[in-house]
Symmetry: C2
């Protein structure tokens, strides 16, 4: 079933210990859409400027991503400049040029309205809410956010959290959002803010899902208060960490949307697929790796993740 | 089969956000021995001072630990004073009083010579080597170390590493030992120093085992280059992190020693038991929790670890 994603389609200028790339195609919605495209149909809502060419759009459409909701406007596309030279674990933002995103007002095309799954990538919570309102019949909504919105736009973010089936953030964001240094206590507080599930991404250590009392019906519902931990793949070479979290989200939600039902079992498998797509994303610069995978390679790595973490 | 452990039996004065304890029984060998005692016979080699009473010794003997190798001497026992008030993830050492450990020369009692498993807990590598030499027929040797020995006593430590079947250290120690910030590359370098396996403990994120080409015979040997990741239990209350790593080691090695053969399958199970014992250790002050478990509680938590991390 189709996923609709709203978020940034942008250009990234990135420096890592392995080299640098200037103005390569990036943005949370781009990484998410590419990663999810290996599992299900994906539709994108974002805004781009005149510097976004047919060649850039083809990166998405070649993977079957529906770009009807990509609004072309005058001006320049969102441009992020960052460095991982000091640490691969945390991006150092050198410059953020919002450009066309400053006055973005997302509109859901009529042809997108039947999307059953909605992903609110990391953008202004006001825009996240606007898209959410335009999709009253959506079946499952997941979202992301970041420190900037948590500290400076908390009231708007709170409205988004109320309607989420799952929130995907990292350790630091979870602790900041809950104002608690213990991850389990932080998770409990965040689940009280609305999300039925919270996925905390630990970078090279994998990810943990926490659940509210009964987020799913049926199978496994009774045991739902136990968290679930998915591994990450130990990698001997991380080329570019940009987009790892968005690729995790794309793998996670893409797999979930491809299944008949959102059960605990499928949720767990989806966590593993999230880790798989995150591990691919960092192995090359920008979206290079996300553009050129096969489902067979993905499933082989899924098998590796299982072997890496399972007793038998 | 019996494990012989050499390491510190000491008193700890600990301050954590949950309170403080003065001069409670601690030391790496104590935590290790108590944790391993739930799985197999344990023998201890250490030195204690006049402040170590029959009551303290009974903490070990009540769990069936053989204390023949506990040397009583004049002077005071090793005393560590530390705080976790700033961070539960890293101990802040306030004072280290080696006392009787300054002139310790470990002697393996004749009755210990048939121990098939040897654990060299975190002490001076010269002492680790001395015990190793006295146990020429031992079947499997695991060891621990810390930053202090890595930076200041590298040549002595190198000799210990040559003879290890498995080295158990944390992320920071592994990266320091290998002088590499990438964990996989660090692991490769460390495996070249001698250990057949390296277990890197990630605290609240679990632990990862890396293997040299063919550390075991038989089952699974061909696939040995793939690491293995064991989870940690997300806890809503950490009372005292002291001894978590030593308890992990005790659970890991204790389980392994209790099995007929050291196979890959048993090694993986042992990693899980390590995590289980580590998760118990931090739930109360000092060794309180390690003194009072049952094997049933341990196996229940093992089942929880499996459910927490397995797809089916």
């Amino acid at each position: 079933m189709a996923i609709l994603v709203v978020g940034s389609v942008a250009f990234d200028s990135i420096e890592t210990p392995q080299g640098r790339r200037d103005r390569c195609l990036g943005g949370a919605a781009t990484y998410f859409a590419l990663a999810a495209s290996y599992f299900t149909d994906v539709r994108v809502i974002a805004v781009v400027g005149e510097d976004f060419t047919a060649e850039h759009e083809a990166v998405l459409t070649r993977r079957g991503v529906d770009t009807q909701g990509l609004e072309h406007t005058s001006g320049k596309s969102f441009h992020w400049t960052g460095s991982y030279v000091k640490s691969l674990n945390e991006a150092q933002t050198l410059k953020t040029e919002l450009n066309v995103f400053e006055s973005f007002s997302p509109k859901v095309p009529a042809a997108y309205r039947d999307s059953e799954f909605l992903f609110l990538a990391n953008i202004d919570p006001v825009l996240q809410s606007s898209v959410r309102r335009q999709m009253p019949k959506v079946r499952m909504v997941c979202g992301d956010t970041m420190n900037y919105w948590i500290t400076g736009h908390r009231a708007n973010l709170a409205k988004v959290l109320t309607g989420l089936d799952a929130l995907l953030i990292n350790d630091g964001e979870a602790k900041l959002l809950a104002d608690d240094t213990n991850l389990v206590l932080a998770a409990r507080k965040i689940l009280e803010m609305g999300p039925k599930a919270l996925i905390v991404k630990h970078g090279e250590y994998g990810a943990t899902a926490f659940f509210s009392e009964h987020p799913f019906n049926g199978e496994g519902a009774a045991r739902m208060t136990l968290p679930f931990r998915a591994p990450a793949l130990p990698l001997d070479r991380v080329v570019d960490p940009t987009g790892a979290g968005d690729s995790f989200a794309g793998g996670f939600f893409g797999y979930l949307a491809s299944q008949q039902q959102v059960t605990l079992k499928n949720f767990k498998q989806a966590m593993f697929y999230g880790g798989v797509m995150g591990s691919f994303a960092v192995q090359r610069f920008g979206t290079e790796q996300m553009q050129s995978l096969t489902r067979e390679e993905i499933d082989q790595r899924f098998a590796l993740f299982r072997e890496l973490s399972h007793l038998d």
